[in-house]
């Protein structure tokens, strides 16, 4: 079956993941409601997302929906179950899915560091030119002249003795 995912969202009460998709055969928008069961405010959003994505009944429909998006939707649901406002949940998601540039990653344990690395890997994979890409070039040289006219990176302090 071929289906093109258009939108995916969550309904809080009763909880369900809702997918708007197009059935290519007919070119017509359809809606699929996938009830969320056994989910509490203590549940693991990542695991819930994985389970739904691998559910034999929904699997083929969710092929184009990323695990990360599903995980995020479950986070909205969990935030709601915890009595958080939408803004609070949004902020929490933001915090957990972006890198704080000021954070010293040397100070994190393995698990936390792995989390940050996986967030960074997302951008890496997006920009990555792989060896089997048709336009892959092994040796790419680009010159970036470092002359006096450059703006300072802003990370050097006035006192030159810092380093």
């Amino acid at each position: 079956m071929t289906c093109t995912a258009k939108k995916c969202g969550i309904r809080l009460q009763p909880p369900a993941i809702i997918l708007i998709y197009e059935n290519e055969m007919k070119g017509k928008s359809r809606q699929r409601i996938m009830p969320v069961r056994n989910f509490s405010k203590f549940s693991d959003c990542n695991r819930a997302a994985e389970q739904l994505k691998n559910n034999p009944r929904h699997k083929s429909y969710l092929e184009q929906v990323s695990l990360r998006q599903l995980e995020k939707l479950f986070c909205f649901l969990r935030g709601n179950l915890r009595g958080q406002s939408l803004a609070e949940t949004m902020e929490q998601i933001q915090r957990e899915t972006t890198i704080d540039p000021e954070e010293d990653l040397n100070k994190l344990d393995d698990k936390e560091l792995a989390k940050r690395k996986s967030i960074m890997d997302e951008l890496f994979e997006k920009n990555q030119k792989k060896k089997d890409d048709p336009n892959f070039v092994y040796d790419i040289e680009v010159e970036f002249p470092q002359d006096e006219q450059l703006l300072s990176c802003g990370w050097d302090t006035e006192s030159a003795d810092e380093f």
Binding site: I99, P101, E102, E103, D104, L105, N106, K107, L108, D110, L113, R116, K117, M120, L123, F124, E125, N127, Q128, K129, K131, V137, Y138, D139, I140, E141, V142, F144, Q146, L150, L151, S152, C153, G154, W155, D156, A160, E162, F163
Partner: protein, 227 residues
């Protein structure tokens, strides 16, 4: 030196004395992309790429590479950290016999740039003379940084490379330059510290030899009954 001897590395480091063997070390904070840079460079397919060797005892990963410099085949061992960088300090054996250093920071994270100072100080403590290059990684995330100046490299007169392990910009150039620097360092100069340490060791041995007869005399005098 003392630390070195107390913890012999499981890697045979004697081989780095051979003419066709060089050791290049990578330094920098957690998650700046050191391993990703290595992997990108070794994606060449010219040589059979061997799997990197994990040496867990020393928290390091060893990548082997074969290069050709001025017609000569050079065996390169790249030493990459595997977690130990978290303590912002590496074991002495990591620096031992290194011929060049690649120091990396992440252009998106100021703290990794600020910490270059700590890394550089430690490097110079063990290897005062080896060539060192500074690498600004992840320029794909923000290409505008390539139009900015980074004083750290300028201050210590170190070459600065703007690179991206993701899209490959300047990665091959960086590593080939580092290999070249390592080889020329090896050919042209003995590390001053090495010479000094070697001399100190020799003096030590000479002194011990001289001291031996003295000690015997000393012992014999002591055994004599007091007059």
């Amino acid at each position: 030196m003392a630390r070195d001897k107390a913890n012999p590395c499981e890697v045979d480091q004697e081989k780095y004395d051979a003419d066709d063997n060089v050791k290049i070390i990578c330094l920098g904070d957690s998650a700046v992309g050191k391993s990703k840079l290595m992997e990108r460079f070794l994606m060449d397919g010219l040589y059979p790429s061997s799997q990197p060797q994990q040496l867990s005892t020393y928290a390091l990963t060893l990548y082997k590479h074969t290069a050709t410099v001025d017609g000569k085949t050079i065996l390169v061992d790249f030493w990459d950290t595997a977690g130990q960088e978290r303590f912002q300090s590496m074991h002495a054996s990591y620096y031992h016999k290194a011929h060049a250093c690649i120091m990396v920071f992440d252009v998106q994270r100021k703290v990794t740039y600020k910490n270059l100072g700590t890394w550089y100080a430690e490097l110079r403590e063990f290897r005062p003379e080896i060539p060192c290059v500074v690498v600004a990684n992840k320029i794909d995330a923000d290409i505008k940084v390539t139009q900015k100046s980074f004083n750290f490299a300028r201050k210590f007169s170190l070459p600065l490379y703007f690179v991206s392990a993701a899209d490959g910009t300047n990665v091959v150039k960086l590593f080939n330059d580092a290999i070249r620097l390592a080889v020329s360092y090896k050919q042209n100069s003995q590390d001053f510290m090495d010479e000094v340490l070697q001399e100190l060791e020799n003096i030590d041995l000479e002194q011990k030899e001289e001291e031996l007869p003295d000690q015997e005399q000393c012992g014999s005098t002591k055994s004599l009954p007091p007059s």
